[in-house]
Symmetry: C2
Amino acid sequence: MPPGGVGSRASAMATLRGLAHERFVDPQVGGLLEELEARDLDPESDDGALVRVTRRDYDHSVKIPAELVAEAARASTEARPVWQLAREDSDWKLFAPYLDRNVDINRRIADALGYAERPYDALLDRSEPGMTTRQLDALFGRLREAIVPLVHEIGRRQDAVDDSCLWGDWDERAQLDFGMQVVTRFGFDSERGRQDLSAHPFSSGLGAGDVRITTRVSRRSVSQAMFGTMHESGHAMYTQGHAPEFDGTPLWGGASPGVHESQSRLWENLVGRSRPMWRYFLGPLRQAFPGRLDGVDEETFYRAVNKVYPSLIRVEADEVTYNLHILLRFEIENDLLDRELKAADVPEAWNAKVEQYLGIKVPDDTQGALQDIHWSGISFGGFPGYTLGNVIGAQLMETVREAIPDLDDQIAAGEFGSLHGWLKEKVWRHGRKFTPGELLHRITGRSLEAEPWIRYVQQKFAEIYDLDLAAPRQH
Amino acid sequence: MPPGGVGSRASAMATLRGLAHERFVDPQVGGLLEELEARDLDPESDDGALVRVTRRDYDHSVKIPAELVAEAARASTEARPVWQLAREDSDWKLFAPYLDRNVDINRRIADALGYAERPYDALLDRSEPGMTTRQLDALFGRLREAIVPLVHEIGRRQDAVDDSCLWGDWDERAQLDFGMQVVTRFGFDSERGRQDLSAHPFSSGLGAGDVRITTRVSRRSVSQAMFGTMHESGHAMYTQGHAPEFDGTPLWGGASPGVHESQSRLWENLVGRSRPMWRYFLGPLRQAFPGRLDGVDEETFYRAVNKVYPSLIRVEADEVTYNLHILLRFEIENDLLDRELKAADVPEAWNAKVEQYLGIKVPDDTQGALQDIHWSGISFGGFPGYTLGNVIGAQLMETVREAIPDLDDQIAAGEFGSLHGWLKEKVWRHGRKFTPGELLHRITGRSLEAEPWIRYVQQKFAEIYDLDLAAPRQH
């Protein structure tokens, strides 16, 4: 979009959102829902799910007063440019009063929605239905316990992995084409989607037959576009895989941002950064960039794409450290909502946590508490979705491996049909029919657990970095 | 858009159009209009124009019964694929019954809208407000009289112009960049617009700050993308030039398709295919394609881009023959509407007119009456806009030349600011405030006339083809 287009797009979006909201919260819709609920539809049926999911959306929409919605929109619009300025100058004081107001509005939204234990529950339930703060507390506790020592161990062995083969000068067109070659093999359907360039990669579903991914390409490194494309293809295949009959109904979409992220992470990391992946794809990659990878073997390449870089910036974080970035935001958002922390004191809390979890010092707030755009909007409760994605992805993958015992052989042969088919059948086609917890239970027979992901990460990185995790070094 | 996206886009468009229509035809809107009309607002004022234009749109919208709108949409949807098939096989009989139905629906729409003399008046008034069939009859009569002999004369001197310098192998990226270089100098604002590729060039205004042009590029010839981009920039600058306060109101948009086309033709032909244009731009073009135009001088290049090719296909027609393609469609549409011609007999009428006007034989209906998509929809009355564009453009240009006597010197110096400013002030900023006739009268002091265009074309092409038009050759 050209710079001048911002205003008209914002105004078109506001008009459409306003009209859609106005029609949806009509009491007649509530009446129709009551009528349908009285029919006791089979909760396993699509009709039953349709009523259940629409009721959830309806309640969320009617509970928040229109004035509060308008106030939230206004506050975001005002805070956004201030955050931008503050970030440029690393000037937290400028932004702090706006964050205080945003915390207050988040809190009032939580109050309007209602919650059993903590305000965060209300906000979380809106994006991750059925999930509680208590559950996440336990999950993050386990992750912290397991990863913090792992990150510290890896930090001592930085030189064990050499990723210099990924750097240099890589033709941009060839990178885009290679990414499409990979995700087309994964099963991304180009008849019902396309790839474009963007500054911030995303995927979007304009309809069942039009699911787009965008990619950012860097000439300096071959990995950004490649793994970015795999990541977005996971989101896009999820959308392409919804049951066609859900198109245009409230059941169309992902179960939650967390479940969505599980699909992107699964393809990006559990598949894309695996050994068998590169047994197959190193050849095509060499063909795409003649001469660029001479003398680089599968093992070197596999290790390179898995190098761990403890970093200050969430969006640059690797597979191991990513969840720690989310953990600290989860803790800070909760403390703010519970009024145990004031906006003014956020940088201090932030910097202490970064040092504790990642072992690095934050030089300024631009690289610290001002790095993400999220707090300039009214969107508390959204960050955990990223960690849920990692954890759910790994938990699903353990069940996949039971169902497809020779998965690694298939991947090493460039065959992704069984995996694609399994995910479509078990996850994608259901759209929003089940909550994340219901879906996970149906598929794995268990609730959400941190253990599969911890096992996966410990095993993979202990081997890459030659660590003896059974007997952690004293420090 | 990926192929699979057609369905969801169609459904989204239908929903939005339906909702917008439903809200607009609400009798409350009619009541508000009556209230405002009673206030006797100054017809020259924006408020006065807003009420007048909204009334016109409202009357058009309420006069056509919803069932007829739905029937028209259904008929188009059904006829489109049949037209496509018929065109592939040059099988008019397949398409004829669908055209008969479309004629009937066009006729019923005309009846619903009402007209003084002929059904065509009603359809024409919808796109070119204030214009009558009688007026067009006279206009086309003058054009036919003047151009048919000119085309025949030029046909005898085909070899007088050599355009081989335009053909060969031209880098596509460089063509796009050169096109942008040209239209940026014209005054197209990239901060509020952008250029993209498409199979069928068009321009679109998503909002005052987001006006896009699309371009088709052929490696084989440098002229298609170049003149296509100039053409679309004319449309786009018109849109970018509307008074900002009209944004989001019924006054935002062009006065009519004909006036819109006058702006695209003016920049493409009256400026783009002029001698001073290439005095300035041949240098930059040489720089964009090093070595490609060695030994080609301004005069050769100017003559090449003005070569006349009497052709069977409207969209490939040159400046001289274009109006004849429109003329024959205008005549056939009128005969169909007046029930003087049946769909079955259209090819015969078509082929006779092509031979009479253009001096060429139609080998099959694919290159004849089946070439355009238009008749598969319910859009009679639209074709004259193309000819109005040529004629209005030339008429405006005569007034421009009085206002800016050294226009050619400015163009030859690559200066387009005065022309851009004049058009913005006189045409673009007014949006839909005035009808085409009102606008033309305000600017030129005269009604629509064929003479300026005829003078322009006769003078230009008599010189290029070395014709003595004062004493036409006997034949």
